[in-house]
C-alpha cells in the first residue's frame, strides 16, 4: 500500500476545507477568489487521475477512516465504477468552475460572489464524498451537504423566481432526505450495521424481510426525488432552468447522476441484484416509471419554448434511460447506464453552458431567438450541436455508445417494450435537439438580432464548452478504453 491509499479522502476533504477557508481570501482580496477556487478542484482531479490504473476492474480500494475496521468505523470504498464517476465529477466541476467567473460576475452581485464559490466547492466535495463512501449513513451526511448547497445555489441570484424555484426544490428535497434517513434507520434496525459490504452479508441472513422491503422502497422514493425520477421530477424544470447556467450544468450533469448512482450502489452492493424477495417488485415499478420518464421528458422537451427548460426536460428523459439500464440487471445495461452518466454529464453540462454563453452575450432564453445564431456565435453553436448530437445518440458521439449498450442490455434481458421505449426516446430527442440546431444554422435571422463578427462568448467561457463537446466526441470514438472495464466491473457487481 503506497501513499495513494490516502488519495480518495484527500480528494473529498481538500475541496471541503478550502471552501471553509475561502471566505478569508474573499475578505482580503475578493478578485482572487474565482481563481483560488480552481486550486482545490484541480488538486482533486489530479489525485483522481493518479489513481487511474491503480484500481482493477474487479477490485476496490478500501480506506478505513480513523483506522477502525469496517463495521465499526467508516469505510471509503472506491471501486472501478466509483473511480470512473469520481473523475467525471472532478472534470465537469472543474470545467463549470472555469466557466463561472465571467457569468457569475454578471448575474450575482458582489458580496455574494464569495458565497457562490464556497457553496460550489462544498457541493463538489460533497459529491465526491457521496460517490466514494462505503457507508450508508455517511452517504446521507454527504447527501445533506449536497442538498443544502444546491438549494442555495439555485437561489443565489436572489431574484423572485430563483428563490421560488429553490423553495419548491427545498419542499421536495427535504421530505426526500427524511425518507432516506428513515430507510437507513430501518436498514439498521433489521441488520445492526451501516457498512455497505457488511450490510449485504447481513441482509442475506436477516429475518426481517418486510422491514428491508420498505427500506428499499423508501430509498427509491428518497433518491428518486433527488434524481428527478418521474413522477418525482416536479422541482427539476424550474430549478435547473432558473439556476445560473454553471449551476444548471452541475445539477443536470452531475447531481441527478450521482443520486442515480447512489441507488445503483444500494441496489447492487447492499441489497444485491439477485435478491428478488426484497427488490423485485420495486425494481419492476421503477422500470415502468423510468419508461414513462423517457417519454414524458421527451414530449415535454419538444413542447418547450425556453431553451434551458427544454434542456431540463431532456434531463428528466435521460434519467429514465439510466434507470432502465440499472433495472435491466444485465452487465450491458449496467455498463450502459454508467457510460450514460459520463456522456450525459458531459453533454448536458455542455448544453447548459452553451445556453449560458447565449444568455451572457445576448440575454436570449427563447429557442425562437436562436435563428441564425451561428453567424455571431459559431463556437457556441458548434459545441451545442455536438453535445445535442450526443444527447440524441448519433455516432461518433459518446451518446451513441451508451444508448447502444442500454438498448442492448434491455434486449438481452428480453425487455422488448423497454428497448422500444429507449428507441422512441432517442427519436424524441432528435426532434427537440435538431429543431434547435436547425434554428441556429439554417433559419434566416429576420430580425437581424445576430450580427456577424459581433463577438462570441469570452474565451474563459468557450474553452470549457468546447472541451466538453470535444469530450463527448473523444469518448465516442475511444469508448473501448473504458467500456470494456465497465462491462467487467458490471459483471462483478451482478
Amino acid at each position: 500500500m503506497g501513499a495513494y491509499r490516502h488519495f480518495p479522502i484527500l480528494m473529498i476533504t481538500v475541496p471541503l476545507v478550502c471552501a471553509v477557508l475561502l471566505p478569508f481570501l474573499g475578505y482580503l482580496r475578493e478578485r482572487w477568489v474565482p481563481r483560488a477556487a480552481l486550486v482545490p478542484l484541480s488538486v482533486s482531479t489530479l489525485l483522481g487521475l493518479l489513481l487511474v490504473g491503480k484500481i482493477p476492474a474487479q477490485g476496490y480500494l478500501s480506506y478505513h477512516l480513523g483506522g477502525w475496521e469496517p463495521p465499526f468505523g467508516i469505510e471509503i470504498r472506491v471501486d472501478y465504477i466509483g473511480l470512473f464517476l469520481l473523475l467525471v465529477v472532478c472534470g465537469i466541476s472543474l470545467l463549470a468552475m472555469v466557466f463561472s467567473p465571467r457569468y457569475i460576475g454578471k448575474e450575482v452581485s458582489g458580496g455574494r460572489l464569495t458565497a457562490y464559490y464556497v457553496l460550489f466547492l462544498l457541493m463538489s466535495g460533497a459529491m465526491l464524498g457521496f460517490v466514494a463512501t462505503g457507508d450508508v449513513f455517511n452517504l446521507f451526511v454527504f447527501m445533506e451537504i449536497l442538498a443544502l448547497t444546491s438549494y442555495a445555489l439555485v437561489a443565489i441570484t436572489g431574484n423572485r423566481n430563483a428563490v421560488r424555484a429553490a423553495f419548491k426544490y427545498l419542499l421536495m428535497g427535504a421530505p426526500s432526505s427524511i425518507m432516506v434517513l428513515l430507510a437507513i434507520g430501518l436498514l439498521y434496525s433489521a441488520t445492526g450495521s451501516l457498512n455497505m459490504a457488511d450490510l449485504s452479508a447481513r441482509i442475506a441472513e436477516s429475518g426481517y424481510t418486510e422491514v428491508l422491503v420498505v427500506s428499499f422502497i423508501l430509498f427509491v422514493i428518497g433518491f428518486g426525488v433527488k434524481a428527478a425520477l418521474f413522477p418525482l421530477h416536479m422541482w427539476l424544470p424550474d430549478a435547473h432552468s432558473i439556476a445560473p447556467s454553471p449551476i444548471s450544468a452541475m445539477l443536470s450533469g452531475l447531481l441527478v447522476e450521482v443520486s442515480a448512482f447512489a441507488l445503483l450502489r444500494l441496489t447492487f452492493s447492499v441489497f444485491t441484484a439477485g435478491n428478488d424477495a426484497i427488490i423485485g417488485g420495486t425494481s419492476e415499478a421503477v422500470s415502468v416509471f423510468a419508461a414513462a420518464a423517457v417519454l414524458y421528458g421527451g414530449i415535454m422537451a419538444i413542447m418547450q419554448k425556453d431553451l434551458k427548460v427544454m434542456i431540463a426536460y431532456s434531463t428528466i428523459s435521460h434519467i429514465g434511460y439510466i434507470f432502465l439500464g440499472i433495472t435491466s440487471f444485465t452487465k450491458e445495461g449496467l455498463a450502459g447506464a454508467m457510460y450514460h452518466m459520463l456522456d450525459h454529464g458531459l453533454a448536458k453540462a455542455c448544453l447548459f453552458l452553451c445556453a449560458g454563453c447565449i444568455i451572457y452575450v445576448k440575454g436570449y432564453r427563447r429557442i425562437e431567438d436562436l435563428k441564425g445564431a451561428w453567424r455571431q456565435m459559431p463556437w457556441t453553436c458548434f459545441a451545442f450541436s455536438v453535445a445535442a448530437i450526443s444527447v440524441i445518440g448519433i455516432p461518433p458521439t459518446a451518446g451513441f455508445i451508451s444508448k447502444f449498450y442500454l438498448i442492448y442490455g434491455n434486449f438481452t434481458a428480453e425487455r422488448w417494450p423497454y428497448a422500444l421505449v429507449l428507441l422512441v426516446g432517442a427519436i424524441l430527442a432528435a426532434v427537440y435537439c435538431l429543431r434547435v440546431i436547425y434554428y441556429m444554422f439554417f433559419q434566416p435571422d429576420k430580425r437581424g438580432a445576430w450580427e456577424e463578427g459581433g463577438g462570441d462568448a469570452p474565451a474563459s467561457m468557450l474553452a470549457p464548452v468546447c472541451l466538453l463537446a470535444a469530450g463527448t466526441l473523444f469518448f465516442g470514438v475511444f469508448s473501448g478504453l473504458i467500456i470494456d472495464s465497465l462491462l467487467k466491473a458490471a459483471a462483478f457487481l451482478l
Binding site: 458565497a115 455517511n138 451526511v141 451537504i145 445492526g192 420498505v214
Partner: protein, 249 residues
C-alpha cells in the same frame, strides 16, 4: 384533484410505515440485530480504545468521526446558504435597527438576562470541555451559546448583541469546526495512521491515551466554537432580514 392525490399518497405512506412498524424487531429486545452486532464493541471497547469515558463521544468523534466531520460541514453549508440568500449584516446599517428590534421590556427582565447570560455561557464552556467525560460536547455547548444569544438578542436587540460578538470575532471562527477536524485528520496521516486516526502509530504507546484525549478535547472545542458562531451568525442574519422588511414596510 391535486389535493386528492396528495391525500392518497399520504395514506399510502402511512400504511407503509404502520406495516413496517408492526414488523420491526421488538423494541428493547437484547437479541435485536442492533444490540448484537456493532454495539457490544462500542460499549465494551470505547473506554479502552478511544480513551473517552463518554461512549457517545467516543462513537461520534472517534469511531464515526468522519460522519461528524460531514455534519459540521452541513452546519457550515447552512450558514453559507443563509449568507448566499440573505447576505451578511453590514456594520454601518445596524444602527438603524436599534430601536425597532426590541420590544420594550421591564427592568426585571433586563437585569435577569444581564445576570443569566454569562452563567449560560459559562455552562456551555463546561458542556464543551466536559463532553469527553459526561453527557454533552461541542454540538450541545455550541447550541447553548447560540441559545443564550437568542435570549440576549430578543431582549436587547441586534445592535447590542452584535456588539457583544462582533462580526470580526465570528467571521474567523465560523469554520473552526471543519478546519479542526481536517487538521486532526491530516495529523493522523502524518502520524502514520489513516485520516482521523487519533492514536498515532508513530507515537510511543504510553503517550497515546493522553494524545487521544487531548485531540478529542481539541475537536470538541473546535465544534463548540464553530457551532456557536455559525448559529449566532445565522440568527443575526435572519433578524436583519426581518428588520429590513419592517423598515421597508
Amino acid at each position: 384533484m391535486k389535493n386528492l392525490l396528495a391525500l392518497l399518497f399520504i395514506i399510502a405512506l402511512a400504511a407503509l410505515l404502520l406495516y413496517v412498524a408492526a414488523n420491526m424487531p421488538p423494541m428493547g429486545d437484547p437479541d435485536n440485530p442492533t444490540a448484537t452486532h456493532v454495539i457490544p464493541r462500542y460499549l465494551e471497547g470505547a473506554e479502552k480504545e478511544t480513551h473517552t469515558e463518554n461512549v457517545i463521544t467516543g462513537i461520534i468523534l472517534n469511531y464515526r468521526g468522519y460522519d461528524t466531520m460531514g455534519e459540521v460541514t452541513v452546519i457550515f453549508s447552512a450558514l453559507a446558504a443563509v449568507l448566499a440568500v440573505l447576505g451578511r449584516e453590514r456594520r454601518g446599517r445596524i444602527h438603524a435597527y436599534v430601536d425597532r428590534s426590541t420590544v420594550p421590556s421591564s427592568v426585571i427582565v433586563r437585569t435577569m438576562v444581564r445576570f443569566l447570560v454569562p452563567l449560560i455561557v459559562l455552562f456551555s464552556v463546561y458542556t464543551i470541555l466536559h463532553g469527553e467525560i459526561s453527557p454533552g460536547g461541542g454540538f450541545q455547548g455550541g447550541a447553548i451559546i447560540g441559545g443564550s444569544m437568542i435570549v440576549f438578542t430578543t431582549i436587547f436587540g441586534l445592535y447590542e448583541s452584535s456588539r457583544r460578538i462582533p462580526q470580526k470575532v465570528r467571521f474567523p471562527l465560523e469554520g473552526s469546526a471543519v478546519v479542526t477536524f481536517f487538521l486532526v485528520g491530516v495529523l493522523g496521516m502524518v502520524g502514520g495512521g489513516n485520516f482521523l486516526t487519533y492514536a498515532w502509530p508513530r507515537v510511543a504507546a504510553g503517550l497515546q491515551p493522553a494524545l487521544v484525549t487531548w485531540l478529542t478535547v481539541l475537536v470538541e472545542i473546535g465544534i463548540g466554537l464553530g457551532g456557536a458562531m455559525v448559529l449566532t451568525s445565522i440568527l443575526f442574519c435572519m433578524i436583519r432580514e426581518e428588520e429590513e422588511i419592517a423598515v421597508v414596510a
